[in-house]
Structures are given as structure tokens and as C-alpha cells.
Amino acid sequence: MKIEINEKDGGLVATFEGRLDTPASVKAQQDIAPLLENAEKQITLDCTKLEYISSSGLRLFLTLRKETAAKGGKVVIQNINDEIKKVFMMTGFFNLFEIKNA
């Protein structure tokens, strides 16, 4: 699992690559620290190359959402694949995020 964070248009873009499963989420928790520190900005999660998300990954996204909601920022999820969309639907979390397609 690789997470790359870049600044763009006054916000941050985090590019996820690989599988965000439970073991990967432990490291990802540390990797997203810069996002939590900039929670007042728009944070775009580019999931074009994200293959899978586990419950731990969902928790990670929910943590980001909670933090940005508290500090006036927002999370935009970009280009999740159909399987991950299905996960968001089955868990009832779809409407919590702005989910954009390319």
C-alpha cells in the first residue's frame, strides 16, 4: 500500500495505491498524519489505484471525515472502483462522502 500526498489548489491530494487492508491501515494511519494536520482544507483521496478497502480502511476515511468536518475542511473521494462503491453502499456510508468519478 502506497500513499503519496501532494498539495494542489490550496488543498491536499492523497493518492492511494494497492490494497487498504487491515495490516496496511496501521501504516496508513501514520501516513495520513499530514492530512489530519490540514483538516481545515479540502482533502482529496485519489483512489484510482486503490484495489480494496477493509473495515480498517473505512475507519481511516471516517476519521478524516470527522476531523475535516470539525475544522471546516472536507473530504472528496475520487475514482473509487465499483467494488469499493459497493462496500460504501452496503455499509450505509455512501452519503457521508463526496464521491467523484473522473
Partner: protein, 370 residues
């Protein structure tokens, strides 16, 4: 300094005003801060609040008209003035009560113009208090005189303000004598606005009564008498109506339930034809087994152990649509109510319609029992 050709007495008053200008500005800031803070704490919604120091030219005009009646500058009580515009008559009274606690009121010079009209006359309605800062609430050792300068507080409703502003604008108060016909037209409008103010108050009270009544009905389980709306839905949610279903769904994967707002579902329930809370209750009773079956089908083969607290309600709505003979577009519409317009809703609808073909309750045939 501009010269205005005032007599000696009025020029002396103007000099006093100029010397005091910094104090007036300071007083104006204190009055502004105190009023805003205490009105905010009381929860009163305001249309506007403004605090100003009388401009020099405006004071000169006043001195030219009636300067001889003022012995000292402190006899002019509106050099610092605050105007508070509320929406309801009752709020004007509440603001007055706040002012009475915050400031020392000069009752001899304060006037409730709302009560000055004869039973058969209408006109300017506003509550005017002449105040000073109370030492209990504000004292500045460097400027103790701030507690001695009077200021005027005007309190009125938005409609009273509109009438007053228009009356002022058309020069009703000017020296030109207006024909009786115009007086009568303005008075008639004042009467109309007074009636509107009373009606707005009555409507607000009636809505508050309805909310209290609906809340009691919900608590007493008389759901068939309660119309479904934002307020009543919130009251209903306090009964945790989806909790049992949620717990059952969460047990499938020993999942944690993540608290999420149910309010986006209000529009969905209404679009599904639910008019009363009893309709929603019936939805839960009739379809909770099927909603559980849907969750079991979706989650049973996964290890997802976190779910939204809306999952039970989401599945109830999906099942209701499917069991009522609804199709892809109806499911799509449901998610549009929740997520807003998005191509993702079509994808979700496709997934659900595909899953529906494998759900055991769909084999039983459609029904609509709510």
C-alpha cells in the same frame, strides 16, 4: 472645525460633544458588545442591531431646532443610540427585559410608544429606553464618566421598523404640513402592520404548541396522530426505532455501529408516501425481516465490521421499494434523495437490482402493506 453659526449656548454644547467624542465611541462599543452578547445568550433571533454615535451635522440640526431646551450635553440622550430590530413583539419585550438588567433605565424619559396610541389610532410603534451603563456590569477606572452618559435604546419589530423607515423617508416628519389624507393612509398601514405582527406571533406560538404536542404524542406512542416532518422525525428517533434491526444486522459480522444522521432519510420516507410516524413504524414492523435478509446477503460473506447507524433504515427503504414493485429508477431516486444527483446512484441501483434477483423474499411476490 466647521462653523455652523450656532448661538453661544449651542456652540458650547457642540464643543462639549467634540471633546466627548472619544468617550461616545467607547460607550457605543461597550453598549454594542453587551447587547450582542446577552441577546445571543438568550437565543433571540434578531433582524438587525446597530449602535451609532450621532454625527456632528445631525447634532447641529437638533441644536438649531431645539438647542435652548438642553442645559448640558448630557441632556441630549440620543448622542449614543442603539436600535434593535426583532421579529416578534414578544422578543421586543424580552430584549427590554435584558436591557433592564444590563443598564440603569431613566424611566421618566423612557417611553413605550406602542402604548401611547388611542384605541382607535395607529402609528409609530417602538419602545424607547434612556439608559446609562450600570456599574455592576461595566466600570472603567480611567473613564468613570462612561457610567454617567445617557444613551438611547430603540427596540421594535421588523415591521414596525419598516413603517418607521418609510415614514421617515417620505418626509412625514418634515416641517411641511401633509394633508390629512396622507396621515390617514400611513395610519392605516400602521394598523395593518400591527395586525401582521400579532399574526406572526400567533403563528409562532401555534407552531411551538404543535411541536410540544407532537413530542408528547410520540412519547405516548400515539404515532398515527403525528405527521412526519423534521421535528417529529427527530422526536421519533429518540425512541431508537431502528435500533433492534441495526443490532441484528451488526451481529452478522460483529460490527460496530457508527453514528450517522438519519435526517437525509426524511425526504426518502416522504417520497415513499409515508405521511405519519405510524407509517414509518409500520414500515419497520412489516419489513424488518426482509431488511435483515438483504443485509445478510450483502454482508454475510464479508468481514466488514463497521456499519453506519442508518443501515437498517437504508435497507428498509430498499426493501419497501422492491416489495412495492419498484424498479431500478425508484432505487436510483431513493439514493438521489440521500446522496444528491450522481451517476454513482445508477451504479448502486444496478447492484441492488442484481442482488434483488437472488433475495428469498423477492420470490414471495410483491406486496405493499404500509
Amino acid at each position: 472645525m466647521e462653523e455652523y453659526g450656532l448661538d453661544f449656548h449651542c456652540s458650547a454644547l457642540l464643543d462639549q460633544y467634540r471633546k466627548n467624542l472619544d468617550l461616545y465611541n467607547k460607550l457605543s462599543n461597550v453598549v454594542n458588545d453587551k447587547l450582542r452578547e446577552h441577546i445571543r445568550l438568550s437565543g433571540i433571533e434578531l433582524n438587525a442591531i446597530e449602535v451609532r454615535v450621532k454625527a456632528e451635522k445631525s447634532l447641529v440640526g437638533k441644536l438649531e431646532r431645539k438647542g435652548s431646551k438642553y442645559q448640558s450635553i448630557n441632556n441630549i440622550t440620543d448622542i449614543v443610540g442603539a436600535r434593535i430590530i426583532a421579529f416578534y413583539n414578544e422578543d421586543v419585550d424580552r430584549i427590554a427585559s435584558i436591557a433592564e438588567k444590563l443598564f440603569v433605565i431613566d424611566w421618566d424619559n423612557s417611553v413605550d410608544k406602542r402604548k401611547m396610541h388611542q384605541v382607535n389610532s395607529f402609528g409609530y410603534n417602538s419602545l424607547h429606553y434612556i439608559c446609562r451603563l450600570s456599574r455592576d456590569f461595566y466600570f472603567d477606572r480611567e473613564h468613570p464618566e462612561l457610567n454617567t452618559i445617557p444613551f438611547e435604546l430603540q427596540m421594535r419589530t421588523a415591521l414596525q421598523h419598516v413603517w418607521s423607515a418609510i415614514q421617515h423617508d417620505i418626509g412625514y416628519k418634515s416641517d411641511i404640513e401633509a394633508p390629512d389624507e396622507y396621515h390617514r393612509n400611513l395610519s392605516r398601514l400602521a394598523g395593518l402592520l400591527e395586525l401582521a405582527d400579532n399574526e406572526f406571533s400567533r403563528i409562532r406560538t401555534a407552531i411551538a404548541d404543535y411541536r410540544r404536542h407532537a413530542s408528547v404524542l410520540v412519547k405516548n406512542g400515539k404515532l398515527e396522530e403525528v405527521m412526519l416532518d423534521g421535528d417529529t422525525f427527530k422526536s421519533y428517533l429518540e425512541l431508537s426505532p431502528f435500533s433492534k434491526l441495526n443490532q441484528k444486522i451488526a451481529a452478522i459480522t460483529a460490527a460496530e455501529l457508527h453514528e450517522t444522521s438519519f435526517m437525509p432519510y426524511l425526504a426518502v420516507l416522504k417520497s415513499l408516501g409515508m405521511h405519519t410516524l405510524s407509517d414509518v413504524e409500520q414500515l419497520v414492523k412489516t419489513y424488518e425481516d426482509d431488511a435483515y435478509q438483504l443485509a445478510l446477503y450483502q454482508l454475510g460473506s464479508t468481514d466488514i465490521d463497521i456499519l453506519s447507524s442508518t443501515i437498517g433504515l437504508q435497507n428498509l427503504c430498499i426493501v419497501y421499494i422492491l416489495r412495492s414493485g419498484g424498479g431500478r429508477q425508484d432505487v436510483c431516486n431513493m439514493f438521489e434523495h440521500i446522496n444528491g444527483k450522481s451517476p454513482n446512484n445508477e451504479l448502486i441501483a444496478d447492484i441492488i437490482m442484481e442482488q434483488a434477483t437472488r433475495l428469498p423474499f423477492m420470490a414471495k411476490g410483491n406486496k405493499n402493506e404500509v
